[in-house]
């Protein structure tokens, strides 16, 4: 059995403004039993808990934890869930840390068909221009801005939009930030980051459709 955790802070230190709420929350989350956390509404993302819990409440919880000694591992059911959680964490492949930590793995894949200049990557809010073709998994082309006749390409313009601002489906937004000028890539986007359960009603995209795009990033700003 693990050694019992000890008090890190005195009452004075707890009340002090120098000690941020999230430190207290982290300590309690690391050391308290699951049911304790649940009762004191301290489960979940530290940022969110910090938003809703008052410092006084946290101090009370902290004190109660040491009084009741309801530490991690003191509840048998809890032990099992902790073990399961531990297993899951090990199996998850290493991901690149993005801004949003609790969102899970990216729901698209990209394979580069033609390399770009590897220098000009679009930043959030910058205008980008692309040629693209979109198909469903069965090969049906549902959209493209590449005209059929090559001569007409002079007449049409590539699609322009500001990247990273949620104006396009998430798969596109995320992927485009990883592409450099001149790159052509094949994107396979899961429905969650495309049009989801609804699809595009009355249109070409059915519900829960995985979308495949071939995108050429022509210009950045």
């Amino acid at each position: 059995m693990a050694a019992e955790p000890t008090r890190e802070w005195s009452d004075e230190q707890l009340k002090s403004d120098d000690l941020p709420k999230k430190d207290i929350i982290k300590f309690i989350q690391d050391n308290a039993a699951h049911s304790f956390l649940n009762e004191h509404k301290l489960l979940g993302n530290i940022k969110n808990v910090a938003k809703t819990a008052k410092k006084e409440q946290l101090i009370i919880a902290y004190d109660q934890l040491f009084e009741s000694k309801r530490f991690k591992g003191t509840e048998p059911v809890e032990e099992m869930t902790e073990q399961v959680k531990a297993v899951k964490i090990e199996e998850k492949p290493k991901e690149v840390k993005t801004e949003v930590v609790d969102e899970g793995p990216p729901k698209y894949t990209k394979s580069v068909l033609k390399k770009g200049d590897k220098t000009n990557f679009p930043k959030k809010g910058e205008n980008v221009s692309c040629w693209y073709t979109g198909t469903l998994e069965d090969g049906t082309v549902f959209d493209t801005n590449i005209p059929a006749a090559a001569r007409k390409k002079k007449q049409t313009k590539p699609l322009s939009f500001k990247a990273g601002l949620g104006r396009v489906i998430r798969g596109w937004d995320e992927a485009i930030l990883t592409m450099s000028k001149g790159e052509t890539a094949r994107l396979e986007i899961e429905p969650e980051w495309a049009y989801g359960k609804k699809g595009l009603p009355d249109s070409k995209i059915p519900p829960n459709a995985k979308l495949i795009f071939e995108v050429e990033l022509v210009a950045v700003d």
Binding site: K41, T52, G134, N145, D173, Y195, L200, S203, K204
Partner: protein, 597 residues
């Protein structure tokens, strides 16, 4: 007689150089020529007009003959029809190539102006083609004349009755559909020219030799066509209800709408840019039109409606924009049109709003979107206007509920607060309070816990709900919806939340609610009841007296109807107070039971 006069003046003028014709010459030619046509001598007029020698005269003065000619042509059964037609066609051909075919143009446009639907449709059908020929002869100077022509034509089209049903569109009794088709044919060559200009300027971008003057003229043409498209999007397209392909396979109106969208793309105003325009910072185009004039709000809303509700030009609309972005843009269009009292505009923005909401996943709109004022104001104004304008509340409330469902939990919380604070409408507030109850119910179920509808944030919201706007003096009938829903919510909380658990905080708050809500409400109910009972008593007294004293005017006895309906209303009010009281009593019973156990 007239024929001789005509021959004379022509013979005399043949010998003169054409800029020396006198006013008298013009007048004689005009009057004599018109008389000849009206008298049926068009064959002779034709031979004069076709004569090689006379072409200069025809070119200068011929356009004066248009009015009587067109009158004959519109009548159609005239036996002189073919001659008149020949004269007409010749005039068009010759006068277009005059250095200033303006008079011909104006003459034609004047003839378009009719009062009744039938002549309007007929003259459009007759004259659009010749008008086009004249305009095409103007070369690079055509833009302003084209603009003037299009404006006149649309003014005439506006006078035609619109088909509403599928059958009316098929029958096209007033020829609106035919006019729209004619109009599409009319603008086609000009659109083509604008498209070419667009391409050339793209190709020549590097080449700075292209004259600024030319570019100016090209811009003018594009601008006139843009004005035209925007005007059609206001009328007739805003007002007709397009039928979908399943209902009406071939729809001239749908085709017309599609052509307008294609025209916009051709002139360099791609439809996605226009639809998403509110959120795109457009480059300030140095032109002679202000943004608001260039892109009238109602026309843009109509355009968005054509794209999102009717799916026109779907093949060319990119399928990559996120539903939330589309919603945001459409809400701007809707917001801009919200204060229009035009029923057609109202219908269009309702449909656009609903269609945009449906594409978004439930619970996916985050709270920070509420910082964009349209997200607060559009659903609010929408439901309020609906309740005001439509006798059946259901549609308005249905759309309101749809918009609420799209917010995530925190956003719902903030939105409800906003609605309670600013709506000033008992029915809407009642509906919001019902929503709050549903959210609390949801939050109390295992696994759905959140801090907004239970826990820390709920009490501040409840305090805003469980109040009386004017204390004990609150008009309970006026605020009935709100008061009833508040009571229902309170009753629900007392039943659902165990005293020992107090998940919602209601039990610790109850004594405050007693003071702020329940006690004043009791007082209010008693006061109102006393008041209305007295009213009822008085009215019944009056009624009794009236049956002794009857009032007659002339020989007719006036009915006692007003008393009768008044009595009914008073009974109804009293019943309402009973209803409120019964819930209050029930709440008290439950509170006692729970508190003592």
């Amino acid at each position: 007689m007239a024929l001789e006069q005509l021959s004379d003046v022509v013979q005399r003028c043949v010998t003169l150089p054409n800029d020396s014709y006198t006013t008298e010459d013009y007048d004689v030619f005009t009057i004599a020529g018109r008389t000849c046509i009206e008298e049926g001598n068009s064959a002779q007029v034709l031979s004069i007009v076709l004569d090689e020698k006379n072409q200069d005269i025809v070119r200068s003065m011929g356009w004066n003959l248009l009015p009587p000619l067109i009158q004959v042509l519109l009548k159609k059964e005239d036996k002189n029809l073919s001659h008149c037609l020949a004269v007409f066609n010749h005039l068009i051909k010759v006068c277009s190539s005059a250095r200033q075919p303006k008079e011909l143009l104006i003459g034609l446009l004047e003839q378009l102006e009719q009062d009744d639907p039938e002549p309007i449709a007929e003259s459009l059908h007759l004259l659009l083609n010749p008008l086009q020929k004249v305009l095409l002869c103007l070369g690079s100077r055509k833009a302003s004349s084209l603009g003037m022509s299009l404006s006149s034509v649309l003014d005439q089209v506006a006078k035609l009755p619109l088909p509403h049903t599928k059958e009316q569109e098929e029958d096209d009794v007033f020829s609106l559909c035919r006019c729209c088709t004619d109009l599409t044919d009319f603008v086609r060559p000009f659109v083509h020219e604008a498209r070419q200009n667009n391409l050339n300027s793209q190709n020549d971008n590097a080449n700075k030799m292209a004259g600024d003057q030319d570019r100016g003229k090209e811009d003018e043409l594009r601008t006139e066509l843009l004005k035209f498209c925007m005007k059609t999007l206001s009328h007739p397209l805003l007002e007709v209800q397009l039928k979908d392909p399943d209902t009406l396979a071939v729809s001239p109106l749908r085709n017309f709408a599609t052509e307008i969208l294609n025209t916009l793309s051709a002139i360099g105003e791609p439809v996605p840019s226009l639809v998403f325009q509110p959120l795109l910072k457009r480059k300030q185009v140095p032109g002679f039109l202000e943004e608001e004039v260039r892109y009238p709000k109602e026309s843009l809303a109509c355009l968005a409606h054509l794209v999102f509700v009717h799916h026109l030009a779907a093949d060319t609309f990119p399928s990559v924009f996120s539903p939330v972005f589309s919603l945001r843009c459409n809400m701007e269009h809707i917001f801009e049109c919200h204060f229009s009292f035009d029923v057609c505009v109202f219908t269009i923005i309702q449909e656009l709003y609903e269609k945009s909401l449906v594409r978004v996943e439930d619970g996916s709109l985050p709270a920070d979107l509420l910082e964009i004022k349209t997200f607060l104001q559009v659903p609010q104004v929408n439901v309020l206007r609906h309740l005001l304008l439509c006798p059946q509340r259901t549609r308005g409330l249905k759309v309101f509920q749809l918009s609420v469902d799209k917010f995530d939990t925190e956003a719902k919380y903030n939105f409800f607060q906003y609605m309670l604070k600013t709506s000033n409408h008992s029915g809407v507030e009642g509906y919001v309070i019902k929503n709050i109850k549903n959210q609390i119910d949801f939050a109390l179920r295992p696994g759905n816990s959140n801090t907004w509808f239970e826990g820390v944030h709920l009490l501040p919201l409840l305090r805003k709900v469980l109040t009386l706007p004017d204390g004990p003096e609150t008009d309970l009938l006026q605020y009935l919806d709100r008061v009833m829903e508040s009571l229902n919510l309170l009753r629900y909380l007392i039943i659902r939340d165990k005293v020992t658990e107090n998940q919602t905080g209601i039990w610790t708050e109850l004594y405050k609610i007693e003071d702020a809500f329940i006690k004043p409400l009791r007082v209010g109910v008693n006061m109102s009841r006393a008041h209305y009972e007295r009213e009822l008593h008085n009215t019944m007294e009056t009624k009794r007296k009236e049956s002794v004293l009857s009032v007659s005017v002339g020989d007719e006895k006036l009915p006692n109807m007003t008393s009768e309906s008044q009595i009914q209303a008073l009974h109804s009010a009293l019943h309402t107070f009973d209803m409120i009281e019964s819930v209050l009593v029930r709440i008290e019973e439950l509170t006692e039971v729970k508190e003592t156990h």
